[in-house]
């Protein structure tokens, strides 16, 4: 199988989020960047598992600047065979999807994987855009995926349950929890990753469709109002008068 896994770089979940004075950029000092967890834990690992089962190659795709190569090497250390970095600072989700689609359209990948969303923009936009651009089915929030011949069986998260179905390859798959188990790179993987091919290519032009107007920090949280455990009637009063749920 020929598999492409798209990975994104995001601030670590525990990072403190603050913005520059123009509210247009994240303050990067003290922020550690990681591979987006859904890309790493689920999309990449399921891609590798399918290669282990059927043979083939797993290519990793990243749209970003040279400073992201740490996460690209990590994906290679976890088990991807080769990597492509499109050397660009993307302007919006349409730009990211355009870059990936342009690369992928003549490569006849069987499956293009990515995480269900990034933990910074939380947009969940690129996967569906990419499927639309490539004109192939999109398997959204996938928790189970198997392939038999040219047929793909998937289970996906939906409100209040799940849906399972079959479709034909190729497809774009957005990965959610359950699709695979996180793999930690071992020493051999880390050493091998240094020798694996990492191709850097130039971006194509993409029309910007959406612009960021500004980031907005949240107002500081007011201190918790504590209720004594032997004063439950006060809590009931709060549920009635303040939260208005009873």
């Amino acid at each position: 199988m020929k598999i492409l896994v798209c990975i994104s770089k995001t601030p670590d979940t525990t990072s403190k989020i603050a913005f520059d004075s123009d509210n247009m950029h994240l303050k990067e000092e003290g922020v550690s960047f990681i591979m987006n967890p859904y890309d790493e834990w689920y999309a990449l690992v399921r891609g590798i598992e399918l290669r282990e089962k059927f043979g083939g190659t797993v290519s990793v795709m990243h749209v970003g600047e040279a400073s992201s190569e740490v996460i690209v090497r990590k994906a290679l250390a976890i088990g991807a065979d080769q990597a492509i970095r499109i050397d660009s600072k993307p302007k919006d989700s349409n730009d990211v999807a355009t870059q990936i689609a342009h690369y992928a359209q003549n490569q006849s990948f069987d499956i293009v994987f990515l995480g269900k969303e990034t933990i910074d923009h939380n947009g969940s936009e690129v996967g569906a855009l990419l499927a639309g651009m490539l004109a192939i089915p999109f398997i959204s929030y996938c928790t189970k995926l198997d392939v038999e011949g040219n047929e793909l069986s998937a289970t996906c998260e939906i409100e209040g349950g799940e849906v399972s179905f079959k479709t034909q390859l190729p497809a774009v798959v957005s990965a959610a929890k359950g699709l695979a188990e996180q793999r930690i790179p071992n020493m051999k993987g880390i050493m091998d990753a240094k020798k694996k091919p990492l191709e850097v290519i130039s971006p194509v032009s993409a029309t910007q469709k959406v612009k960021l107007v500004r980031f907005e920090a949240l107002p500081p949280k007011t201190a918790v109002k504590l209720i004594a455990p032997d004063d439950i009637d006060s809590l009931v009063k709060i549920l009635h008068e303040e939260v208005k749920v009873i």
């Binding site: 349409n94 947009g123 409100e159 209040g160 959406v210 004594a228 439950i232």
Partner: protein, 317 residues
């Protein structure tokens, strides 16, 4: 024109679709354009969408369409009706089709919208960095695809009109998905749409102790949820797991019982309007994110709370 795709489940319009329609109507009013509602179910009520401000309801009575057919239909209507904005609920369907429609129509997409401002150009707000900040976005052109985060925009049923019904009979390609099988938890509000959520963590000690969580949820007409360790150890089903790897929710009230409040858990719940935390450990990080807290043994506090709410309900009804 602005058009909202209306999802119907069990013969009823989903609340998240009416929220999307309410936002669309506000935009329609501000821009002086027509507000359409689009549905593939004849159960979609012209009275209900009319009360939310829809001028016209376009129905293609084809039953449930698969993803490719739905995209095909919406794209064809986009051209036929000269629509400028397509509005979707940011539901599992909305997430799956929004980007595909945008790509096919070469539109921008702003997803997960939880507010908007009638500036020129219009600005749309989304929660970013897992609930730690907001971001405002605008389209570069006066058109696009917008998906609305459930439980963010109030449903406004103040319009006293009935939408005019138009039948659509577009020939559709596909389907591309087959052997489709849905498994839904019957009779329960899906977590993403629930206004109140009662959630239990490891502090419950054993799955057999969930009776009091369910009792509290019943009393408050709430959905039940759990933390990651609880789902991972099989105490509760995975679809109840809220947090970064699970489901992100934004109810009016989130009650966290026996959950310490790890940052990954908070990432899924800190858009809740109010948070009540019950935990015996006063140092539990969740208290920093909470509006109200009870430092106490949940095995004493929760049964007492259930009893007090029951008593209150008897006295007030």
């Amino acid at each position: 024109m602005i058009a909202t795709y209306i999802e119907v489940i069990d013969g009823k319009i989903k609340k998240s679709s009416l929220e999307a329609l309410s936002l669309a109507k506000d935009i329609a009013t501000a821009k002086g354009i027509k507000c359409l509602a689009l549905s593939t179910s004849k159960s979609a009520s012209a009275e209900v969408v009319g009360s939310c401000g829809a001028d016209e309801l376009i129905v293609q009575d084809s039953g449930e369409l698969d993803q490719s057919q739905l995209i095909d239909w919406l794209c064809k209507l986009y051209s036929a009706y000269q629509i400028s904005y397509i509005v979707l609920a940011n539901s599992s369907i909305g997430k799956a089709i929004g980007g595909q429609i945008a790509a096919k129509l070469q539109l921008g997409i702003i997803s997960g919208v939880n507010g908007w401002a009638a500036a020129s150009p219009m600005q749309f707000r989304r929660s970013v960095f897992s609930g730690k900040a907001n971001a405002w976005y605008s389209f570069m052109e006066d058109k696009g695809v917008i998906s609305v985060m459930p439980n963010s925009i109030p449903v406004n049923k103040s319009y006293s009109k009935v939408a005019e019904i138009s039948e659509s009979s577009v020939n559709l390609s596909g389907p591309v998905f087959n052997s489709v099988n849905k498994e839904l938890v019957k009779g329960k509000t899906p977590l993403t749409e629930a206004e109140v959520v009662v959630s239990g963590g490891r502090g419950l000690k054993d799955p057999s102790n969930w009776g009091m969580i369910e009792e509290l949820a019943d009393l408050l007409n709430a959905a039940t949820a759990c933390s990651r360790p609880v789902a991972d150890s099989g105490w509760r089903p995975h679809h109840e797991h809220v947090g970064q790897t699970g489901i992100a929710i934004r109810p009016n009230l989130y009650i966290a019982i026996g959950i310490s409040g790890a940052i990954q858990h908070l990432a899924g719940v800190n858009n809740s309007r109010k948070i009540i935390v019950i935990n015996k450990d006063p140092e539990a990080p969740f208290f920093k994110a909470a509006d109200y807290g009870v430092v106490g043994d949940l095995f004493e506090v929760v049964p007492k709370l259930n009893e007090a709410i029951s008593k209150f309900k008897v006295e007030h009804h």
